[in-house]
Structure formats: C-alpha cells, structure tokens
Amino acid sequence: MTDLIKHTAAQTAAAIAAGTVSAVEVAQAHLDRIDAVDKKVNAFLHVDTEGALAAARAVDAKRAKGEELGPLAGVPLALKDVFTTKGVPTTCGSKILEGWIPPYDATLTTRLKDAGVVILGKTNMDEFAMGSSTENSAYGTTGNPWDLSRIPGGSGGGSAAALAAYQAPLAIGTDTGGSIRQPGAVTGTVGVKPTYGSVSRYGLIAFSSSLDQGGPCARTVLDAALLHEAIAGHDPLDSTSIDAPVPAVVAAAKLRDVRGMRIGVVKEFAGEGYQAGVMQRFNESVELLRELGAEVVEVSCPSFTLALPAYYLIAPSEASSNLARFDAMRYGLRVGDDGSASAEQVTALTREAGFGPEVKRRIILGTYALSSGYYDAYYGSAQKVRTLISRDFDQAFADVDVLVSPTTPTTAFPIGERADDPMAMYLADLCTIPSNLAGNAAMSLPCGLAPEDNLPVGLQIIAPAMADDRLYRVGGAVEAALNDKWGHPLLEEAPAL
C-alpha cells in the first residue's frame, strides 16, 4: 500500500486503467496516509472521505463496464479551499466563511470530476490567498514536510505540503502573486501558473480578479502537464477566459530536449536578499541548461523592480471590492444578530470577528488606494507600471524563448519568523509577481537543496502568454537531467514523517 502513495499520477492512472489496482484502493491508501500524517502537517481543512470513495467507485464501475477512462481517472487530488465544491465546505481559510456549503461547483471542480479525478478534500491556505506562508489561515498553520517547524509557502501551502507529504499525487493551487510557485519551490514540488485566462476562474473565490489564476501542482513535470490539460480551456462562464486551444503541454513535458532554445537569465533577480545556496543551485541549473544544448543569455527587465509596489496597490484594491460581499447578509459567519443590532452593526461585528489581520490590512490599503483623490496616484500609477512590466517581457521574449530565475529568494523560513513583518513576507514573491502582472505563464520546479540548510530550491521558468508548453519542455528536460544526476527524485531526500 505505501507504494501506491509514492506513485506519480501518470503511473497511478496507468495502473488503474490496466486493472492492476482499483481506484478505491488508491483513494483508500491516500485517505489512510492523510489519517496518519495530517495531524502533523495540517495540509487539509476538510477531508471528504465519502465523496472521494464514491468518485473512486464510479471510476472502477466505469472501467468494469469497459468504458474508456481519461488520462487522470482515479487519481487522487488535493483541492485548494479557494474553489467552490457543491455540498462540501469551502472556507478560503477564513472564519467569515465558516460553515458555508456552496450550492455550486467551480468550473475547475466540474472538470476534475468529469475527468474522473478523485477529490480527497480541501487544503489549507492563507486567508483569501493573502500570504506567503499559510500562517494567515484562520485554521492553523501548515507544516513544511521537509521540516515541520518551517513554512510550506503560501498561500497554497496546504496543496504543496499535501504533495510533499505523499497525501496526494496531484493538487490544485491558485497563483495571484506566486501562491502556486513559491509553495512549490519551498516544498520541492512542481507548480505552474498557467497563462492568465487559460484556467476558468468561475468558482474561484476572488482575491484579485485581474491576477488570480488557478493551476496544477504535482510532484513531476509530466503530472503537472496532465493536470494542466484536464483543467485548462475556454469557459463561457468566465469572460476573461481565453477562447483558444490549450497548448500541448503533455507532449512538451515528454520531449526532454531543449537544444536550440534561447533562454534568458533575468539580471534583476539576483543580489541583495538572495540566499547564497539558492543562487548556487540556480546558477548550476543555468549551467545544466547550457549543457543540454540551450543557448543562455542575460536579459534586463528594469521595470521588474517596480513590480512589488505595483502589486501591493492593485491586488489590495481589487480585494477591497471583492471582499465587500462578506457582509453577513446571505451566507457564512454572522455575529451580533441579537435582534437589536442594525444590519450595519451586524456587518461590522462580523467582519471584525471574521477577517484576520492581514485581510483587514489589505482591505484598508485597497480602499485607500481607490479613494477619490488618490486613485490616479496609486491605482492609476500601478496600472502604468503593469504596462511597463508587460513591455519588458515583450522585449525579452522578442529575443529569448523563456526566462529563468530563482522562484523565491530564500528557502523555507521558520514559522513565525516573518509573521510580524509584512514587508519581509512580501519579499518572498519578488520573482513571481511580474508574471501575474503581465498575465504570462510560469513554472517552479525543484533544482536541488541549498547547501546551508538542506532545504529545496525552486527554479522558475517564465514563458510568454499562451506558450505554456515551453515551460513544460524546459521543465521536463531539467527534471530528467537532475533526476539522472541524483539517481532519484529530490523529494526522496525529505525526512520521513
């Protein structure tokens, strides 16, 4: 049984399709694993045992009838608690949504179900996806399986930790400023932020609508590609969804050949604040790409230094409006409704009790940035920076096929270290934010352990919008070469839980 949890999604799907194992056995093995380790890891906010087993039984029944199974049928998955699931609690890591049972499935949830993916449960996250450590969850912090005293990244720490702890071979995250890639980097797993508009946001509880993007998390590049193809594609329910074919990411992941590709190293992503071991592993990866036949050049994107401040105006501004609906009128928490309080008082009391400090901070920031007389200076300027960043990317991609950088400046930091220092926390997303502002595609994959702390380092690959396949082509080649060098996937070096 322990073998089952170590299999990749591709292996598991093949075994179920071949009949060497049943989907129910696979689901049960993962439910058992969650049972065994999640008290320590706290990756899950809700485990849907019944739902998972029912979905697994349906896959087995389908196979028994001789029906064709999709490429991920029967594979278990951990779903970030930011996507709505009909009949299954969805909290977004917030007290304000405690007890809410959505009456509808997100488009992504529907696609997973249609693909026969077995949803094990909902994973922990920073409240409303605001954070880089999962410490902002209202339901406790998630531990990093490499070292439980350290953060698993955020906001999607629960999904990344579930992968690293072998609780699920696949997970879903959302990436607004790095919430898929940074947790991937610090847990030694793979995370992809697809091109903005390629995965439907219908049913994704909005943090910052123009930046939010759902995407795949996995332990291998190929598994991420399989999940990417299952969830991406046009959705008429999301007006910002791109009506174009999904790039052939699975084929690209299998190619393992970067010969002739031009790869740009972003000059601005280095220097002060970057951990030595992170830079060492990153530079080795660049060298490896050269060895594999890619041409590597240095690229300058001067506007990227403005990305962080622009992000912290745009994201909170949109959040202040998106979160206005949590007013205790229709769903979720309601505090102080004793028959004498007015609607406004109930709303105020509920928000006071239901939102955590980081969420309040960002609502206040955003409300201020949008207010009359400040709009041009703050939100307006930030949008201009956004345009400049897109131009820097355009210029770079005129010369190179992909850009590379460290995913995050440091390895996983200890829980509590940056909790009282928002600026230090925000720096974790320094390298990931530009892609959100430009709406292009980016991946993080493990590229080794930092020598000073033996913790995973992430390599970030960035591709132009709708060229997501390039991420998988480069990522697949790097992963294969590194596994050859190490003799095993990096995650096997993680201590047993």
Binding site: F83, T84, T90, C92, L97, W100, P102, P103, Y104, A106, R201, Y202, G203, L204, I205, A206, S208, S209, S210, P236, L237, D238, S239, T240, S317, E318, S320, S321, A324, R325, F326, D327, M329, R330, Y331, A343, E344, T347, T367, L370, S371, S372, Y375, Y379
Partner: protein, 498 residues
Amino acid sequence: MNLVSYDDALASYDPVMGLEVHVELGTKTKMFCGCSTELGAEPNSQTCPTCLGLPGSLPVVNAIGVESAVRIGLALNCEIAEWCRFARKNYFYPDMPKNFQTSQYDEPIAFNGYLDVQLEDGETFRVEIERAHMEEDTGKSSHVGGATGRIHGATHSLLDYNRAGIPLIEIVTKPIEGAGRRAPEVAKAYVAELRELIKALGVSEARMDKGQMRCDVNLSLRPNGTETFGTRSETKNVNSLRSVERAARFEIQRHATVLGDGGTIVQETRHFHEEDGSTTAGRIKDNAEDYRYFPEPDLVPIAPAREWVEELRAELPELPRVRRARLQAEWGLSDLDMQSVLNAGAVELIEQTIAAGAPADQARKWWLGELARRSNETGIELAEQPITPAQVARVCALVAEGKLNDKLARQVIEGVLAGEGEPDEVVAARGLAVVSDDSALGAAVDQAIADNSAIADKIRDGKVAAVGALVGAVMKATRGQADAAKVKDLILEKLGAA
C-alpha cells in the same frame, strides 16, 4: 414652510435641471447571468450564484443588453464608444449582493446626444444628452413591522434578489438651461418623449407604474441673469409623468423660498410624495460619498464594431417624432388636434383602429370622445380600457352601414366594455339595430305628429327648424333606434314641407 408662489420664484430665479432616467430593459435574461427577468415571480426564485453575488461567481455580459444600449444611444443621436468598459461602483447596501454595482463610469457606451421634445403648444425644445450607460439593478428590500414601510421603525427586512442584475440603461441629460418657467413642462415632455422612444425601439415596455422607467429630477436655481449654477437637490424615483412635472415645480418653489430667506440649499437627495406633490429630505450628499470606481476586472472591454453600429442605425424603427408628423399628415389633423391625440395617449389606438378599417376621423372621434370620457371617469388609462381597436373599428363600420347611429353605437361600446362580447353580439343581445322599416317608423311619426299638433302646424307653415322637436319625440318613442335623418325626411314629407 410657506412656499413662495411659482410666479414669484420665476420672477427672481432661473431653474437649471438635470434628468437621470433609469430604464429596465425587457431582455429575457439578466445583464450578467442567465436568470429570468420576468416580473412577479416568487421572491428569490429567479437567482443564481452570479446575481446573488456568491463567492466565486462571475458575470458574463448579456449581448442583447449591449445591443439595446447601442440602439438607445443611436436613437438619442449619441456617439457610440469605440471601446468602453464596465466599472465597479463600490458602496454598501443590503439589497446589493456584491456590495458593488457593476456599472459604467468614465467610459459610457453612448455619449453626446440630444432629444427634441415637443411642448404642449407645439414648440420644440432640444434636451442635450450627456451619456447613456449600462448597469445592473439591485435587489428589493421590504421593511416589515413598522407603520410606514420604511426602514425606521421596522422590526425586520425582507430581501428579494429577483430584481438584482436586471439590465438598466441610465440616461443622463446635460444641464437643461433656458427652459425658464417651462422647466417643469420640459421635464415632463422629455420623460414622455423618452418613454415613447424606448417603446418604439422595443427595448422595454417603459411602464413607470411598474418601475420599468424611473426618473431622478436634479434641480438648482440661479438668480436671473447669472451664469453660475446653484446647489442642486436630487429628487429620486419620481415615477409618473405628472409627478416629474410636479416635483420640478415644487423644487423650484422650495429652492426660491429657501434662497429668498437668505438660506442655502443643501446638496441632498429628496423623496417625492404623490399625495401632496411635495418633497422631503433624504440623505445628504457631500463630497464624503466616494464610490471608489475602478474598471471591472471580471469583464473584458466592449468594442462595438463600426459596421455593426451602422447596421443597427440603419435598422432603427421610425422614431416617435417622425412617426407623429407622418400620422398627423395622413390623418389630416391640425397641430392642436394632433396634440390632443397625443395628450390622450391615443396614437397607437387610433392607428390600429384605422388599420382595422375605420376612417381616421371616426377612429379619432371615438377614442377621444366616448372612450376618453370613460377613461377619465374610471381612472383607467385609455390603452387599458377593455376594448380593442378592432372592436372600435367594427362599431365605426356598423355606423357607416347605417345599422347604428351614434347613440346606439355608444351603447354598443358600453356593452363591449361591460364584457358582453363583440360589437355584433352586443347589438344582437341588446336589440340595438337602427329601426329603418318605413311602416314601423311611419306609425311612430304619425303618432308624434298627432301628439304635437301645434308644432306640426308650425312646420306646415314653413318653420322647418321646428322639426327637431318632432324628431326627438320619434327617437324617444323608438328608444333611440331610429335613423334620425330618415325620421326627419319622413316628417317633412308627411307635413308637405319637404
């Protein structure tokens, strides 16, 4: 407060108005989701995650809503934006599901237009249009347990989100200057003309009594001969043509009273009261009100293709003003006669009656005469009277054929209105056919001559004008069913005066 008279107000001050009209579009589905817009459904039965603003839900623009907005813009002689966006208007209200309204801000779909309106004396006044933009309606709150139905004193409130997300077009005028004492009349005529336009476009029934069209009257005064606008008041939700006129008139008098006493007008919203035509203060609108508009990130910009806009322009129906001029010419009416047709709201009715075969003068006579009288008596609008243009046309035909006279025709109409069936059925059931049988009439005429010998003698002596009295007697005897012209001929013949 004792208000100064309207004349005194106008002697010192010049009114400037701004009119904001919200039109609920008659699309089948809401502006941003697929829910039905049908009125009168069970509360909250026409809702979905999107119009309830549930976490995770997203809007999708109703293409018919956009098309309607463009058509309204074109009919109002507006420019149509080549590129525009929706914006979020952020404010809190319990019946607004997302606590922001998806609207348009600095990039409306239509702008810079005008609407020519006709005043009661036939004169034309041009009202300039600032913009027409798309937005969504809110839900509806009802406050329960209080005496007034308002929130104060209520024990609880009920929320119905069926209306939330219904498409609205907001049409905003530029400041209306130069109307002087006719400002209230201009306001009414503008809203009336706009309503006709919206109906002609077929984008909404524009029933003000059903809230499908709602008007805000913004008004300020400035001393005569000055240019700078005074502080305005915003009278909200004035929901009939008559009320629009009354609200403007009241505010002119109120502002003049306050200003005349050396007071200042507070910028505030005001409620209009149908009962006495007055307004009272609502919420104060100072600069602290900040909607924090920003472009709606959940929707992509709208860029109406020029060819499409031109197609819509070419397909616009005949607009009310043009149509009225054509009908007036076709019907051969004077300006004054046409105005009375318009005032009675009888244009379509007469047009349809003519289409059903009636002569223009007859159609107009019945709708503006007998039916208008009944409309006034019952307080039911002419168009709502339970008689169809086809039925009126049939009555006209019966008169033309000599089977009914006017008096009988009125009885037939009465019967139709009373639900007794088609005109021919009423004629049969009530036995209302004109008596034109010579022998039966002859007997009645003989009787009348015998009963009124003195009058008969006068007629024999050549005083033919006296015949009316005898005709009346015959008509009375035949209970009005005789053909009066024929009776007159018969009497004169019998008395040798023909």
